[in-house]
Amino acid sequence: MISGDPIPFEARTRLRIPLVSAKVQAGFPSPADDHMERSLDLNEHLVANPASTFFVRVQGDSMRDAGICDGDILVVDRSLEPKERQIVVAMLDGDFTVKRLRKREGKVFLEAENSAYPPIEVSSGQELVIWGAVTFVIHQPR
């Protein structure tokens, strides 16, 4: 059976399992042989629920103070119930945006983490759908 996709994600990841120990034809066996463990798979750390986890690309700097920069990749888990103060990907009037979800006095706000951007109050006429909760930020330092 062929497994593996060009994208290392979900169960399709190839886990390299170094179970084969050093060959013992000649010379000395490796002293590490008895201590072999499975190599770490980043998916285990970043993706709790593969079926509901998606990656999205960030455009803009309104979330800079939360450590989310232009060009970053966000890990978004749709299975998590979005809670107050959580950073979420939301659909607001047909656009995808990443913001912090706030609820105050019965009103819903999408707050930026950058003083240059005022909070967005979601009015009753607007259509807001919380698409998923952001669980990790993949950032490449420059």
């Binding site: 062929i2 497994s3 060009p6 593969p50 999205v56 232009d70 047909g94 656009d95 945006t97 930026a112």
Partner: protein, 421 residues
Amino acid sequence: MKTRFALVDCNNFYASCERVFNPRLIGRPLVILSNNDGCVIARSEEAKQLGIPMGAPAHEHKATFERNAVVVMSSNYSLYGDMSARVMETLRPNVLAMEIYSIDEAFLALDDWQGAEFARELRVRVRQWTGIPVSIGIGPTKTLAKIANRIAKKTPELGGVLDLGFVRDGDALLAQIPCEDIWGIGKRLARRLAAGGIHTASHLKHAEAAWVRKTLGVVGERILCELQGVSCLPLEEVPAPKKGIASAKSFGKPVESLEELEEALSTYTARAAEKLRSGQLLAGQVHVFLTTNPFATRQPQYNAGVQTVLARRSNHTPDLIAAALRLLREIYRPGHQYKKTGIFLTDLMAESELQPDLFEAIPGTGRVKELDRIVDGLNRKLGRNAIRYGSMGVKQNWAMRQDRRSKKFTTRWDELPVVKA
């Protein structure tokens, strides 16, 4: 208690996949075209209401599209295949057993306590986790679960779920279902039934068994039993990828160029397609792999595998070659000394299992089959590959026309959905 079945069916699956990633499509009529942008193969509810038929050639409906601001998109099978896998993996942990019936349908075997309430929760979960809306029908047989699903889908008040076990007058519901809509019957057999005065599922359920057998054969008798609530069609759990046809070979000397790999893979694919046809099978998925020589430890190593779901099941060599080469180009990286490539065809189904009407409706099927038959016959007579397709030896441009394809949001790093910050 007897087993009960649920059929989970994704609503307007391809259109729904597109909408998960493009909220602007929500509420607008949307059609999706076949490979090469020829015919309509999927429609959103709004497009259905405009009367755009399934299979309609796109160019004949241009005026309708323009007048109603219909969004027209190319098919994006990488996306649909990935979203399908997500829906299936969301369902699987909740049930005793499951049969993936098609890209957008699965039969579930239910436990005693799993009824309409469970189905409603499952429906909410699939919607939340994947964004895909589904309908769920429950019944004592697969055939009845299919019917329940159909009614659930057509009756908005049901909220997408119907358990036939809790319907007081089941026959009244069956009376709404014309014979041609019963799983496994189709237009042709329905005409035979109509000649005997049998027009609905309810008529058929109460028809005389001997007459049904005479008219429809064993298949019809099985459908009759299933309509009466006696399960004759078990869940086919065997995961599709286990049944497959492979064709692969190591190269005599390392191969580096894409052209040579394409030739080799086309040849293997033609062979696998021939095997398929000799078994009267159709493949639903194509897997391609590519690897360097693991023993040449001084060389940089590379190996990759990738798969795709075919738009429709096929055993036609050019279809399979086109898919295989597309996959190969996806995983090919220049600069390696390749040792082996190959193809693996899975999700196999007997040609006869495909609903006959579906098969007839595909334009050119008859001629395509005839061509394959001639090619296979000549190859048997004149030796393998006496008759060959262009790509098996000559470079061809296989590029598919897909002018309006959405991005491969879930399978390509460079095509991820963009969120504004």
